[in-house]
Symmetry: C2
């Protein structure tokens, strides 16, 4: 077995979820992640914890959803499983990323709603989502499987304590600061993050991670921004997105490709026209865009903004949380660009302030 | 997809477990059974029930058990899952039947003991165990996968209502009868089944099924018997087993091959020297021995006796249940043989009494 799989399993069990003796562990994986499941079971055995593996398969989920008759209900047995779980490790490993493409959006939304209590239960535990390298993801990324493995493990096999300490400096700037200014090609944007909370995403919930994020004050965003990386929403790729904000709301928009999909996204609901996240990617193991947000938003020397829902844990006391059915990340390359907080340079032309 | 997979799924959901709207369903399967899982999910969707699939893998179980440190405990989250489940469908489909061969027996026994409450919970629900045709099972059976598929579906795709009605005649004879006499090459055996209960195994818990079984009165077995089919215990094949019983207990034994494994089996505990089951196979879709007890013991025109533990549901009021850590089935071809109950012919030379 590729020794990097063992190292991946060690990071997940030790750093991300801190598995201990007696922990009830739920792994969710498809057959393509079999080697990682085996490596995890070894580590979980060493700890004296108690694992169960759920078989995750879009193809069989599609078969269920396409044939479903009746009203979706929360599955009590799955909820009971999650209530008694201490740790949940979700491994993305589907052999076909388009397997669900003909399931109607309405069906997905109703099914998802019935499963909301399960997701809430999962989020209250020690949980981590990760990716096992598969041909499907390699194909999406435009790589061979061998090349894609190198990509994944370059992103995952890092010194996460060092990442944590480095990111803590960014979190402090975001927590203490107020006015954000972003400059770059066709970009000049201002927003306030006053009273919001920065999150140091160091690999506890996402593996790989490598980002610090917060939420903009809802009505504070003004100016123009160009996103040079593709925006992907509901399986559609939207390129060359430009947005103009006034008092927090998108007032003009354009895209070089798939503009009507951008329009649909913005029209989802009121909150979809406003920003829910400002994130800074720090993971320089991720140097190419692979159309997988787990990696893309962590890319070193990028920032991302998300249209839609803000994360509750970013919202300070007496601050408003942007609400929406969507949370769509949009990534901006900062290798030529500037990010300042209260007139202090945080990132400039691909360097952080402590590198300047 | 092979249309027989769909038919298999229909039998499991309709006949075996009677899945209805709102049922909480647990499927357990490995990746080789993916097509059957997809077919089951379709049927479960049509019923408006709620499935979860557990990923069963001996390779990953081995990794866990070989590396385990500490004391095994019952996993509370798995127990909670089973408590809230209505239906459990277990699909045997491992890609390698020897994957657990280097796990020490002591580890297996301790692990199994910790999981006993889970098994009890499962047995209290509507449950069914079945086999998806795999290369591993085909290889064990000495067949190509294509030939093995024909074998499996010949055994599974039957009119189970008809099987039930046919077997009901056998059950009545076993319930009403008392003295059993079995005759054949090197065989003359008597036992009492007075006060015991016959079970019509018609596909509710095993798919395929096709057997009627009961329990001998513990001390009543006397005489000699030759088992012409291999006995398989703990992965070891024992051929040409001959047993002599006196007052229920094995007093002489021999085997043409692997006699020491037979000795180990008999020495397990006190109950291992006595019989726990008398079964009659009725499934003529099963015409060859494939070293898979799910099929072998159901083979048409055979009887089987089991050393060790009797099934509680066979035991009549005020009757003793044979207790043992083992339950090892031994199969006897009855194509040349005679089985009588209270001097009435039940089977003779490969025919049931209603065929004579």
């Amino acid at each position: 077995m590729d020794k990097r799989i063992k190292e991946h399993a060690e990071i997940l069990t030790e750093w991300s979820t801190g598995i201990e003796e007696g922990d009830n562990v739920v792994i969710s994986a498809g057959e393509e992640a079999k080697d990682l499941v085996i490596a995890l079971q070894k580590e979980i055995g060493k700890k004296g914890a108690k694992p169960i593996t759920l078989y995750s398969s879009s193809e069989s989920q599609r078969a269920y959803l396409k044939n479903f008759e009746g009203e979706f209900e929360t599955p009590e047995h799955v909820l009971a499983l999650m209530e008694e779980a201490d740790v949940i490790i979700g491994i993305s490993s589907d052999p076909n990323l388009k397997a669900m493409s003909d399931v109607p959006g309405k069906t997905m939304a109703e099914y998802s709603k019935a499963r909301q209590p399960i997701r809430e239960e999962q989020m209250s535990k020690r949980w981590c989502g990760t990716q096992h390298p598969t041909n499907a993801q390699a194909q999406m990324a435009g790589m061979s499987l061998d090349e894609y493995k190198d990509f994944v493990y370059d992103a995952v096999l890092r010194d996460w304590q060092e990442v944590h300490d480095m990111q803590e400096q960014l979190k402090e700037k975001l927590d203490e600061g107020s006015e954000v200014y972003i400059e770059g090609p066709e970009t000049e944007l201002t927003m306030s993050i006053d009273g919001m909370i920065g999150i140091n995403s160091d690999g506890d919930h996402n593996m790989p991670s490598g980002e610090v994020f917060t939420a903009p004050v809802v009505d504070s965003v003004n100016g123009d921004i160009l996103f040079d990386k593709p925006l992907i929403h509901r399986g559609k790729e939207i390129n060359g997105v430009k947005l103009k904000f006034e008092d927090g709301e998108v007032v003009e928009y354009s895209a070089e490709q798939n503009e009507e999909a951008l329009e649909d996204t913005l029209d989802t609901d009121e909150g979809a026209k406003r920003l829910g996240e400002l994130g800074i990617g720090t993971n320089r193991g991720i140097d190419v865009f692979t159309k997988n947000m787990l990696f893309d938003e962590k890319m070193g020397d990028t920032v991302h903004l998300a249209l839609g829902r803000a994360y509750a844990r970013c919202i300070g006391e007496d601050r408003e949380q942007n609400e929406s059915a969507i949370h769509v990340d949009m990534i901006k390359d900062m290798s030529e660009g500037l990010l300042k907080v209260d007139d202090e340079i945080i990132m400039k032309d691909g360097k952080f302030f402590w590198e300047l």
